[in-house]
């Protein structure tokens, strides 16, 4: 009997894992609102310094504290950063935009309103493409359209404190008036994975632009989600401080709404704002309780009037998509995975490019070496030490010295790995030339190979690994010869090239 019904939707070929996450018959639709703090030197409408870890209330001007008589003045650096974001997101930059006041009464906003761009934002439209090189789950090209981007002020921080006899809020205004851009997407997301991919890509984009640290954990970037199932009422999810909380909240809310629909309680899916408490979404307010922000144009701020063609004259650095293509092609020829590791870590990427220049371009080192050594050996070393990558610990020139020695066959790769590890543990030796260290620690590759020594080592390994030898001889485990080579390398302390052992072993084993 032929079973011809489909077990899952095949309408979108974009996500391989889509069917695992979504329930057939229940279409998920999401949009994002992402607030990003612009990493400017000064605040948005005053010239007090921006700072993320200062003593509370130490970085505030009279305007930030809303003292009477103070006025806002737009910081041009915030405008420049915002323009860069708009260009990178393919948005249309409006040559005329204005600021508005969004009123609400809350202790973290002493003005009584937030200055934002409600009626005429500086940028509209645009898109970000999710591509297969961003995430293995994406097999096609997914375009996420952007509604608009606006410039606005951040608020202060309030910490609610509840004691036995009283409840109060502590207010720190250092964050007040730090510039933000709010980017609003269209509801183009169909799976949580697309959202995860988008957030990561957007974070990386703003880091490459040098306009925001992109960190969700510190609050430098904040993500709100609009979610609906089968085009039902839209629920807004807030207070999501990590990517995993964004994804978990979406999954929970998707299932919650489906449960209500299935039990015939569709009317309970209402337009509301919900928060995430770590395990479930909880109601914060309904549409009826929605705040009336009483928007009005800010009479103290002039419109931003930009020259036509400012978009064309704005130059951006190479962006992640372009870098991915570059790294996967000559002369770098990296794998998608390695290219992605580099593109997602700017410090590491710059380190790699410098190392490539020093070794491959200037010293004709084999082109695969810099990638392998940066991504696998160097990063692995930092992981072992349990510290973050720091380009100054093993600087580019030192690692290039080591790679040149490998390329010149002055040290084997395995001895070089030992030496790198030693240098990371003993930075005092970094001042000494690599060749001197090779000599001192007797790590030099044997230039005149001692055939007797090779024979002794091979015999010892064949004796110790007799079971594996039998398996190889019987033809069952031919590949295990590599294991034997590894054992020989260990005994020789990596000073003899592995292919010499491999040839000898094959000869002896008759394979």
């Amino acid at each position: 009997m032929v079973r011809c019904h489909r077990l899952f939707s095949t309408s979108s070929p974009l996500l391989k894992k889509k069917q695992e996450l979504l329930i057939p018959g229940y279409k998920l639709k999401c949009g994002l609102e992402i607030h990003s703090q612009l990493d400017t030197k000064f605040k948005l409408f005053s010239l007090s310094k921006t700072s993320f870890q200062s003593t509370p209330n130490s970085k505030i001007s009279y305007f930030d504290a809303s003292l009477p008589g103070t006025q806002p003045l737009l910081n041009p650096e915030a405008l420049l950063f915002a323009l860069k974001a708009a260009k990178a997101l393919n948005s249309t930059i409006n040559t005329f935009s204005t600021f508005d006041r969004k009123h609400y009464f809350y202790g973290d906003q002493p003005l009584g309103y937030q200055i934002t761009q409600h009626y005429q934002p500086y940028a509209q439209g645009g898109f970000l493409k999710l591509l297969p090189h961003d995430n293995e789950s994406i097999t096609g090209e997914k375009i996420i359209n952007i509604e608009q981007i606006q410039i606005e002020q951040d608020t202060g921080k309030s910490i609610y404190t509840e004691l036995e006899n009283e409840a109060f809020s502590k207010i720190d205004l250092n964050r007040t008036n730090i510039p933000l851009i709010e980017m609003v997407t269209k509801p183009d997301f169909e799976t949580p994975e697309e959202i995860r991919c988008f957030i990561k890509k957007y974070q990386n984009l703003v880091r490459h632009l040098g306009i925001c640290t992109g960190d969700l954990e510190t609050g430098a970037m904040r993500v709100d989600v609009n979610i609906s199932v089968n085009n039902g009422h839209r629920v807004e999810l807030k207070n999501l401080s990590t990517t995993s909380s964004v994804i978990n909240a979406i999954k929970y809310e998707y299932k919650r709404q489906i449960k209500l629909i299935e039990s015939g309680e569709t009317s309970k899916v209402i337009q509301e704002t919900r928060g995430w408490d770590g395990s479930k979404t909880v109601r914060l307010r309904t549409k009826e309780g929605a705040l009336d922000y009483r928007y009005m144009p800010d009479p103290e701020l002039p419109p931003i009037i930009l020259e036509n063609g400012i978009n064309e004259s704005l130059k951006l650095p190479k962006l992640p998509d372009e870098l991915m293509i570059e790294l996967k092609n000559a002369p770098y020829n990296l794998s998608n995975k390695d290219a992605s590791i580099l593109v997602n870590d700017l410090k590491l990427l710059n380190y790699y490019f410098q190392l490539f220049e020093e070794t491959v371009i200037k010293n004709k080192v084999e082109s695969k070496l810099p990638g392998n050594w940066v991504i696998h050996e160097l990063l692995g070393g930092f992981t072992k030490l349990q510290i973050e990558f720091n380009p100054n610990l093993i600087n580019v020139l030192k690692l290039s010295e080591l790679l040149i020695s490998i390329n010149n066959e002055q040290i084997t790769k395995s001895s070089a790995k030992l030496l790198l590890q030693h240098l990371m543990n003993n930075p005092g030796d970094l001042k000494r030339p690599i060749l001197e260290l090779i000599d001192d620690y007797d790590l030099g590759k044997e230039s005149n190979v001692d055939q007797d020594l090779i024979g002794e080592i091979i015999n010892q390994v064949l004796e110790e690994q007799s079971e594996i030898v039998e398996l190889i001889k019987s033809g069952k485990r031919l590949n295990s010869v590599k294991f034997l080579v590894g054992q020989c390398m260990r005994l020789s302390q990596g000073k003899i090239k592995p292919n010499i052992f491999e040839d000898e072993l094959k000869l002896k084993l008759g394979i």
Binding site: P76, I305, E307
Partner: protein, 170 residues
């Protein structure tokens, strides 16, 4: 007569800010007499009372007519304030006057700022130049030259205190 009067006055008032300014918005009046002279100028043939009323032949504020006790309730909630029920009538009257005044102002088309009316369009070079010149000012308290907590009686570990707490999730 009234209509022509207040429109021209609004156009000529130097105190209206169309854009961010330096602190000075005109020479201060030096005496009561100077102020009286200014206000009795024949050009100033307008009356605040008229602007606060619904009397203008052309502008009838529907918004003002719609202000009720419910509006006051909502405004009080939004502003976090309280009022006694006996104050409501007065508050309704005040709100109506304010809305009517604003509607009169909105009826002046010249108040709308249009593209091209304010300054020269900003180019990228100007933006870069402006960034180069950015410097905090002591006069604006931008150089950490003041103690923000000196203005409050109540603080804790360098933080302002708001009693009775705030709603946790706004």
């Amino acid at each position: 007569m009234f209509r022509l009067g207040y429109k021209s006055v609004i156009r000529n008032i130097q105190g209206i800010r169309y854009l961010s300014t330096k602190p000075t918005i005109g020479q201060p009046f030096k005496s009561q007499q100077e102020l009286s002279n200014y206000l009795s100028n024949p050009q100033s043939n307008w009356s605040i009372q008229e602007l606060l009323s619904n009397a203008g032949p052309e502008i009838i504020s529907k918004r003002a007519d719609g202000i009720t006790r419910k509006t006051v309730d909502k405004m009080l909630k939004l502003s976090g304030l309280q009022a006694n029920p006996e104050e409501y009538d007065e508050l309704i009257q005040i709100l109506k006057s304010q809305v009517m005044f604003i509607d009169h102002l909105h009826a002046v088309p010249e108040l709308e700022v249009k593209a091209g009316q304010v300054g020269k369009p900003l180019g990228l070079n100007e933006i870069y130049e402006q960034i180069e010149q950015l410097e905090g000012s002591e006069d604006k308290g931008e150089l950490e030259n003041w103690d923000p907590l000196s203005l409050t009686n109540d603080s804790l570990n360098g933080q302002y205190i708001i009693k009775e707490g705030l709603i946790k999730n706004k």
